[in-house]
């Protein structure tokens, strides 16, 4: 064969290979699929109940993509495009605000029956400008657990925990009296139990014009319980390194979320649920309660599965059976958002957290995430506690923080 003929044969072979590859997408053309994105705990649970979900949307295929972590899901969502994005995403309540603003999630038309299946707070948490943007799946809340090997009974006052800590600090090698597994967000019960918190309330309604982060009561109690003679932290309360310390049996009381329970159980810690007591008996600290939700993305319309995805949300995620099946499939049982499903939850941890969620106050993502004053509540509260614990003047620090928060809340109240 001549060189020219080899060339011709080669070119034909190349073309044939190329054409055969073109046929591949046709041969494997996908059925209409509703794609769900979820994190590393919710995703695998949903994968195990795909058949149940598909039963609610005949004619559609359901596929779940699980991400390695909650943050990885967030990063992927930020970068999602119409070509790559999901039709449904499971995310925390703050997505209602940012997603509605960006147009990446769609408002839902939900029936009065669906609305009645959830608390007003749950629906309210996912409502932006009078439109509902998600189906609440579970409550994001922390509750108090106490190590029963250290404290046999639930403490009745903050002083009781404080006394236990100071009496046993050396003998039992305690690192703290109370700690929060989830930073300052999880530490909210301690701040409120000491007379502080974020904003005031008129009845049960948040009063954004009243900042209580620097309330006189909190200043007084923080000096008493949180600071030592040198003006720095006395170690009684910590909102960092709680995970390892509590699991090592070095802290009697911890504020935990559902996602922390697996590790605590594996560490062999014996615990019981309770409510974090305030300074006087019968008063308690309040935690935020936010709601995670299943959202319909605007990509669903572009993918031509909007009705299917909407039906999946209403028939599965908004139903008692769906929420119970989802809860059962998860290794980390969370307090369910669906009222009747929540009552049927048998898991003790979910019940403990469910109790905590009933005592909690709504987490308002708008004011908490507002940065008009220069930084949002998360950064301000974190830095304020850090500065106070490092020995900076408590009154000045709290007043500066409160001034920033006041600007944030005033702006959030406007919008």
């Amino acid at each position: 064969m001549t060189k020219k003929r080899y060339g011709v044969v080669g070119a034909i072979a190349a073309a044939a290979l190329a054409v055969s590859v073109m046929a591949v997408p046709t041969a494997f053309a996908a059925k209409k699929s509703i794609v769900i994105w979820a994190d590393d705990t919710r995703g695998p649970a949903l994968e195990s109940i795909v058949k149940q979900m598909e039963a609610e949307v005949p004619g559609y295929k359901v596929s779940v993509r699980s991400f390695a972590s909650y943050d990885a899901l967030g990063t992927a969502w930020d970068k999602a495009t119409a070509a790559t994005g999901p039709d449904i995403i499971l995310r925390d309540g703050s997505l209602a605000l940012s997603g509605s603003k960006s147009g990446k999630i769609q408002s839902l038309i939900i029936s009065s029956t669906t609305r009645a299946a959830f608390s007003k707070a749950a629906i309210g948490a996912l409502t932006v400008k009078a439109r509902v943007y998600g189906i609440p799946t579970d409550a994001d809340v922390t509750g108090m657990v106490y190590n029963t090997a250290l404290m046999a009974k639930a403490p009745k006052t903050m002083q009781e925990i404080y006394d236990y800590y100071t009496a046993n600090k050396t003998s039992k090698g305690l690192t703290n009296g109370i700690c929060s597994f989830n930073g300052t967000w999880g530490a909210q019960p301690v701040l409120t139990a000491l007379g502080g918190g974020t904003w005031g309330y008129k009845g049960t309604t948040a009063n954004l014009s009243k900042v209580v982060f620097n309330s006189p009561a909190f200043k007084k109690n923080a000096k008493k319980y949180l600071l030592g003679a040198d003006g720095k932290t006395n170690g009684f309360f910590s909102y960092s390194e709680c995970d390892s310390a509590f699991k090592a049996g070095k802290v009697p009381v911890a504020l935990v979320g559902a996602w922390n329970m697996d590790g605590i159980q594996k560490a062999g810690i014996k615990y019981a649920w309770g409510s974090l007591p305030g300074v006087t008996e019968g008063t308690f600290g309040n935690q935020w309660v936010g709601y995670s939700a299943a959202y319909l993305t605007s990509y669903a319309t572009k993918h031509g599965v909007r009705i299917g995805a909407n039906q999946l949300l209403n028939r599965f995620f908004a139903s008692e059976e769906g929420q119970l099946a989802f809860n059962e499939a998860q290794k980390t049982p969370r307090p369910l958002a669906h009222l009747s499903a929540s009552e049927k939850t048998k898991d003790l941890d979910a019940a403990g957290l469910g109790q905590a969620s009933r005592n909690a106050v709504p987490q308002l993502n708008g004011p908490l995430g507002d940065k008009t004053g220069g930084a949002d509540w998360y950064a301000v509260s974190d830095d304020a506690l850090k500065d106070i614990f490092a020995g900076k003047d408590l009154n000045t620090t709290l007043d500066k923080a409160a001034a920033i928060l006041a600007k944030n809340f005033a702006n959030a109240a406007k919008s």
């Binding site: 949307v57 147009g103 390194e241 909007r306 009705i307 039906q311 220069g374 830095d383």
Partner: protein
């Protein structure tokens, strides 16, 4: 020549060439097919251009230099030119949370948000199919009012129970004049059905929300294409394009409709970076630290690396062992090393505080955090400088040293006045590359300190150890509310700075003169 270079000639070389070309073509055609399926026509165009260019390079005889350059040029275009071009483009857009999607999509979403259910939240049982004239038709049943309607896109009319058949649970399974869509047909027509509107006669309409449910809705916001305005039909309020990517109320321009869209903003992002005090102050602070960090990183790693190279230049006992030992930090993946160092610096459990009996919060103080960053970067970077320094030292002829000794120069004088300038001449391109790398050394900042410490109470926006790249990342992806346009502008400033400095230094060092 080409085949001679790769050591292949004859039929085998040709077969191999066409097999590889065929595989590359196949891969590109697969990409082309995927791009067309996703309606990504720009990408499809790029793939077609690549296909033509690649085949032209390898099939024609007249383009021999292209055979060597084509693959490199393609990758350069895809991975360097395209992202740079896209970043330049995005820096001229108002591209942030709330202004992310295209204008047409934003209007669709606003109109979607303008769909309001009636006060009673009326929903209908839906039996959807097609009529004899192949048009969509439906039976709507309102269970509250026990009302049955035959609906088409032209309107609705009441019908009786005799026109339908229900199953034992009351579910409609048949209707006169309608052939129900199968599940597969329904899903196949999802994007058409989602826009179906069955007028109910009072301005409201029934719109399918599922395979067997529809909701009674009204369109409260309408779009006037001729005037390019949105109108709230209930209140009469008019919304106009504010030129910045949002429809705003004509009466109160501070009231925006969500979502907005990605709008061209010219140089606004650059202007705000330099003239908006809230952005300029942290930017300048970060810029100064970035320069200092890059210089200190190159300086310290070069000093330690060269010192070790010089020390191990002469044969000493266990030299091989020392050399192997010294490049160990280079052999461990840097992200692992950084995370280990992060643990070592931990205030409560870290080995550094434990070993020295300290209680230092390394990452809480700005200067200590900066010191930690430089120290860890020294650990990560000195083996590289040691390796290139050793090579460069061996490249300097020993005769030069001997001549200097004969002329009476001491070892120190010979090193400072002869060897070091020669070394710098040889190593300057690598030092420049190292500077550019450290200027954009995202990993060490992100993994070690996260850019912190930042004190929000004192009004700080950027962290004490934030460098431009980590600051740009935080601006783009740091919180729920992101500003990708501004972040692109920061990236462009970095690109110009690094590019200019590299070009200037390369020209000064004359290392490119012989190329």
């Amino acid at each position: 020549m080409f085949y001679a270079l790769v050591g292949l000639r004859g039929p085998l070389a040709l077969v191999l060439k066409y097999a590889l070309l065929g595989a590359a073509d196949a891969l590109l055609i697969l990409l082309l097919s995927a791009a067309i399926n996703k309606s990504s026509f720009i990408i499809a165009g790029v793939v077609i251009a690549t296909l033509i260019f690649l085949n032209y390079s390898f099939i024609t005889k007249g383009a021999i230099p292209l055979k060597f350059l084509s693959v490199g040029l393609i990758f350069f275009t895809i991975f360097v030119v395209t992202p740079t071009g896209y970043t330049i483009l995005m820096s001229t857009y108002n591209f942030k949370t709330g202004n992310e999607i295209a204008r047409e999509s934003a209007i669709v979403e606003i109109l979607n948000n303008g769909l309001l259910p009636d006060d009673a939240g009326t929903t209908y049982d839906l039996f959807l199919g097609k009529s004899s004239d192949d048009q969509f038709a439906a039976i709507l049943f309102d269970p509250v009012r026990s009302q049955l309607l035959y609906a088409t896109e032209r309107g609705t009319r009441p019908i009786s129970e005799g026109d339908i058949t229900r199953d034992s649970t009351g579910f409609i399974i048949e209707a006169k004049g309608i052939v129900k869509l199968t599940d597969e047909e329904f899903s196949g027509l999802d994007e058409v059905i989602t826009n179906l509107r069955f007028p109910l006669g009072d301005g409201s309409f029934a719109n399918p929300q599922g395979t067997d449910v529809a909701a009674r809705l009204t369109q409260s916001i309408e779009y006037n294409k001729n005037k390019d305005q949105l109108i709230n039909v209930q209140s009469g309020e008019i919304f106009i394009d504010n030129g910045e990517g949002n429809f705003v109320s004509k009466d109160d321009p501070s009231f925006k409709l969500d979502p907005g869209w990605r709008a061209f903003s010219g140089m606004d992002n650059f202007k705000s970076l330099f003239f908006d005090k809230n952005l300029r102050d942290p930017f300048i602070k970060v810029f100064i630290w970035t320069i200092a960090f890059a210089f200190l990183s190159v300086g310290t790693t070069f000093a330690v690396g060269m010192a070790l190279a010089i020390a191990l230049q002469d044969p000493i006992k266990f030299r091989r062992f020392y050399r192997g030992f010294l490049i160990l930090p280079y052999a461990i993946p840097s992200f692992m090393s950084i995370l280990i160092w992060r643990g070592l610096f931990n205030q409560e459990y870290g080995a550094i505080n434990t070993l020295f009996g300290l209680d230092v919060a390394w990452f809480e103080s700005p200067w200590l955090a900066r010191f930690a960053v430089i120290l860890v970067n020294l650990w990560l970077g000195f083996p590289y400088m040691y390796l290139i320094g050793s090579g460069a030292l061996q490249a300097i002829p020993s005769e030069i040293e001997e001549a200097a000794a004969i002329d009476g120069a001491s070892e120190k004088q010979a090193f400072i006045t002869i060897k070091l300038p020669l070394l710098l001449q040889i190593l300057s391109p690598l030092l420049i590359a190292s500077f550019a790398f450290n200027f954009n050394n995202f990993n060490i900042i992100y993994l070690l300190t996260g850019g912190g410490p930042t004190n929000a109470i004192d009004g700080e926006v950027a962290g004490a150890t934030d460098i431009l790249i980590s600051y740009a990342y935080k601006t783009a992806f740091g919180t729920n509310f992101q500003n990708l346009g501004l972040s692109s502008a920061i990236s462009m400033v970095m690109f110009v700075i690094v590019g200019s400095m590299s070009l200037y230094t390369l020209k000064k060092s004359k290392v490119l003169n012989n190329l």
